[in-house]
């Protein structure tokens, strides 16, 4: 048996290797260029008090999360309970970014499902969403004390992500100097 007859088998195994890796990759998870960069500026009113304006600069000095949600987003509904449980841990405040939503819809949604947010920031036109590179609601950003984005979760946060990714990261960030 000549070695050259093994070549097709070798090629086959290489292709299988590539396909096996490809199967595990999720093309929906686009790496964000914003990780490690300062949180993009916004100055937006809150849902319940339009006179109150929130900006990332105002939140300097603490670790916080920005959870992009909308009442029209189906998976936000499933995620909402997880966000509620995360807030119960008392590790970091979660700010909601109500993305391209109608005020009455958002209020009704929060009245029905509960409001775990420190404050709900209103991005009616979706301009802030674009600045933050949001392309699939829900998305969740982790911002450190210096106002740098440290992590981004695309799609609904689940208990596993909270346990394995968010809690260890936020514990670490809470110990960092502001």
């Amino acid at each position: 048996m000549k070695a050259r007859y093994l070549i097709p088998l070798g090629v086959f195994l290489v292709i299988v290797g590539f396909l096996a890796v490809g199967l595990k990759l999720d093309p929906k998870k686009v790496p964000s260029p914003l990780i490690g960069k300062p949180a993009p500026h916004f100055e937006l009113p809150t849902l319940y008090d339009p006179a109150e304006k929130i900006s990332p600069e105002k939140l300097r000095g603490k670790v916080w999360l920005l959870n992009v949600f909308a009442s029209w987003c189906v998976s936000c509904r499933a995620e909402h309970r997880v966000i509620g449980r995360f807030v119960q841990l008392g590790l970091a405040p979660v700010y909601g970014l109500n993305y391209k939503d109608a005020e009455t819809d958002a209020k009704a949604w929060l009245a029905q499902l509960g409001n775990p947010y420190e404050a709900v920031i209103v991005d009616r036109e979706g301009n802030t969403g674009i600045d933050w590179g949001v392309y699939g609601v829900p998305e969740t950003f982790v911002i450190d004390k210096k106002g740098i984005i440290r992590d981004k979760i695309i799609g609904p946060v689940n208990d596993e992500i909270v346990r394995d990714r968010l809690v260890p990261l936020i514990r670490k960030l809470n110990e960092e100097q502001g």
Binding site: P27, P33, G136
Partner: protein
């Protein structure tokens, strides 16, 4: 009956609302707009560019592109703006850099491998210009070509 047909003919007018109308100052701006929305990728429906996509985000990004062109931004500035927010993924024509080397170089590597294999294959074949026919066979062949059938001859 005629009234019904006439009413049906008017039906396509309803779709007017969905068409985006953009006014440009000059044809160069319009060409740039068309070029950009063809080259930028929609992140929601990932196999479509901004021009083809009906996703809400694609509409917003088309609008942003239009606004930036109207504001006099050039192509590089608009592409930078997009990449700062969405990363290289937004480009259908990614830049040549360390993590895209295989993407850009792969076809050339495969081409080179093909050339090597082809050259080796050709070299290994026996030379064809000698001794394909014995003298006897050659005579027969020539006779046939002249139209002489040996049996008749």
């Amino acid at each position: 009956m005629r009234a019904v047909v006439f009413a049906l003919l008017l039906l396509p007018l309803l779709t007017w609302a969905a068409i985006e109308v953009h006014q440009f100052d000059d044809p160069e701006q319009e060409a740039l707009y068309k070029e950009l929305i063809a080259e930028l990728r929609c992140l929601v429906c990932q196999n479509q560019n901004l021009a083809d996509s009906n996703a809400d985000l694609a509409k917003d990004l088309r609008e942003k592109t239009y606004e930036m062109i109207k504001a006099g931004k050039n192509k590089d500035e608009i592409i930078d703006w997009m990449v700062n927010r969405y990363g290289d993924f937004v480009l259908y024509k990614p830049p040549v850099q360390s993590n895209t080397l295989l993407l850009w170089g792969g076809p050339f590597i495969i081409f080179l491998v093909g050339v090597v294999v082809l050259v080796r294959f050709i070299r290994r074949r026996p030379a064809t210009d000698q001794h394909l026919l014995s003298d006897e066979e050659r005579r027969k062949a020539e006779a046939l070509l002249r139209g002489e059938d040996e049996e008749k001859a």
